[in-house]
Amino acid sequence: MLNRTADNVARATPEPLARKVRGISDKGLAWLFISPTILLLLAINIFPLFWAIYLSFTNFRANRPNEVVKNLGFSNYQRILGDQDIWIAMQTTAHFVFWTILLQTLIGFTLAWLIDRKFRGHAFWTTLILVPMMLSPAVVGNFWRFLYEPQIGLFSYVISFVSGIPPTNIQMLSNVSLAPWSIVIVDTWMWTPYVMLICLAGLRSIPEYIYEAAEVDRASNWRQFWSITLPMALPFIMLAVLFRGIENFKMFDMVNLLTGGGPGSTTEVASITLKRQAFESWRTGYSSAFAIILFVAVFGLANIYVKALNKVKQR
């Protein structure tokens, strides 16, 4: 039953057109598609990275273009690793990373766990909770300074209202022992939603039938939480911790605008130190060395962590 339309319309690809159809070879296309990205990254990431490595062995200062650049060998590295202040900054960073992650994970997981009940309107409220993480840490961090003002700030007022402590005693940004918490609070406020989302993804990845299985296996709610919910969401929680860990290790904008590292040097995290050395003191070579050290540190820690994560995932 060969009818004519079929013949006309659907004839084999006509010979002269065959060449047209051939197009670019797969290999050519692969490189065409990939190379712009690779080139861009080479230009904007890799080349500068190698330049920074080179600079880290010199005394180059970007604000002294006319000076002779001397090769210092490893002395920049020695100076950094022997500098008390740098170690204090690293400690401050670790402290900040630890507490923000702890709080964000605890609160974020709890929120996710509650949202997973799927109460009426949960989608709307979830979206609302997400809003802080969409915002610019710099712009919002700056505004938090206003909220923290001891005499006029809303935060101090509310805390004072609730606790009865006079607002002038709630000097979040001035008090040496409160200032670190002021950045922890803002970071937690901003990024708990992020951890919550990843945890939510983790909880949602647990199929309901697993709970049904546990139900028929006669597991109590408590046992279900500890034996099913938590271990199955663990890879996600660990992932959230990884992401937040890397981000907070790099943290600059929010801290810079909130406390600027003060009072004294109590909130001076590594990025702030680096910024001061690189763009205020203009010790370019020295700060390049510091940058490389930071990079290696994050990279190393992240790698170790990812290995642990993969182990958890492959159980």
Binding site: I210, E215, V216, L234
Partner: protein
């Protein structure tokens, strides 16, 4: 082990009635299969028996106890899920041991029980493997292990072979049935695959739209389908229907189909004139040039020992299963001889089977209609 008694069970989700007034009894040690297409209410029924779903009405008795409104964990049942529902973060040993752990059994005892169970299922060599790396059949065995390790009152299985490859499925069907023969646990098994049901069940309930259409042994259901629906659902190819008209009188044993007289099992009830259907299984058709019931060959499907022959008659295509040696060509005219003793008669309107002599032998084991 215990008997399961379901009475007037009903489940509605809003306006949608998933299960309507179901009644059946699964006797102690019986392998009971609920068969039907997806959405027929079989899984919902199973989940209500398990306590994963609470019924809208009716009663469920487990070993004589009313468990209707108890949660799953308060009933002593085991459930095998379609997707196995293994705990992916635990190894085989922990998966099987989990129900015992949840019960608070000491770990030494758990260990011995798990190992016993694993040996029974021949997966003892896999105990310390991660479940994610297991092949489908082994996962299935682990799921079974988790179910039997606790020695519950009954097993409930929700299409447990649905995700396995066809080749493997046949193997598992036999294995499951063998396992049942060994431990003789009351089992309720849900499937949409009639082959599984026929191979394993002691009793089958065929469900459709929340209603049990027929309840009985596999042979009853195959040989004496209670409705046209059941007749069509079971069998491959399914039962052929030829329409005929007019009423039937009690005692009649002949009908007129397409102008041909066809002998049928003696009718046991009076039927007012209506559209009727004659049901013939493909294997009950022979080619006989003498027959007045005629048609032409539409196509054949060669199956080796047998072949399926599609015959175009005045009333549509009829499929016959005949030995493969018979050579037929498309377009050949043939006469169809029917095995009178095995024919079913249906009221086309209601789909209900007409009571005839084929029902005699089994009248006391009559299926309950829902």
């Amino acid at each position: 082990m215990a008997e399961i008694r379901v009475q007037h069970l009903r489940k509605a989700f809003g306006d949608f009635v998933a299960v309507q007034d179901s009644n059946f009894v699964v006797e102690d040690g019986e392998f009971f299969v609920m068969l039907g297409p997806s959405g027929c209410g079989k899984t919902t029924t199973l989940r209500m028996i398990a306590g994963l779903e609470l019924p809208t009405g009716g009663q469920i008795l487990l070993g004589g106890d009313d468990v209707t409104m108890l949660r799953a964990r308060e009933r002593d049942i085991a459930f095998v899920f379609q997707l196995f529902a293994l705990y992916p973060h635990m190894n085989v040993r922990k998966n099987i041991g989990f129900p015992l752990l949840a019960q608070g059994m000491p770990s030494a005892e758990i260990r011995t029980r798990v190992e016993e169970t694993a040996k029974l299922l021949r997966i003892d060599h896999l105990l310390d493997k991660s479940v994610s790396g297991l092949a489908g059949g082994d996962r299935q065995r682990v799921a079974l292990g988790r179910a039997i390790v606790r020695r519950p009152k009954c097993f409930l299985m929700d299409e447990p072979l649905g995700t396995l490859d066809t080749e493997f499925r046949d193997l598992m069907v036999h294995e499951l049935r063998e396992l049942h023969n060994r431990i003789r646990a009351t089992t309720v098994y849900v499937t949409h695959d009639q082959m599984e049901a026929m191979s394993m069940a002691d009793k089958i309930a065929v469900m459709n739209h929340g209603v049990i259409e027929q309840f009985g042994t596999p042979r009853e259901i195959y040989d004496r389908p209670a409705t046209m629906y059941v007749a069509e659902f079971i069998g491959s190819p399914p039962m052929n229907f030829l329409k005929f008209g007019g009423g039937l009188a009690k005692g009649a044993s002949e009908i007129l189909v397409q102008g041909a007289k066809v002998a049928v099992p003696e009718v046991r009830e009076d039927i007012a004139p209506a559209d009727m259907a004659l049901g013939i299984r493909p294997e009950h058709i022979r080619f006989d040039d003498a027959s007045k019931l005629r048609g032409s060959i539409y196509g054949t499907e060669y199956l080796g020992t047998t072949q399926i022959v599609a015959v175009e008659t005045a009333d549509g295509i009829i499929k016959a299963r005949v030995p493969a040696e018979i050579r037929l060509n498309a377009g050949d005219h043939v006469g169809l001889a029917l095995n009178s003793a095995r024919l079913s008669l249906f009221d086309k309107g209601s789909g209900r089977a007409v009571k005839t002599a084929i029902h005699d032998t089994a009248s006391e084991r009559r299926a309950q209609h829902g």
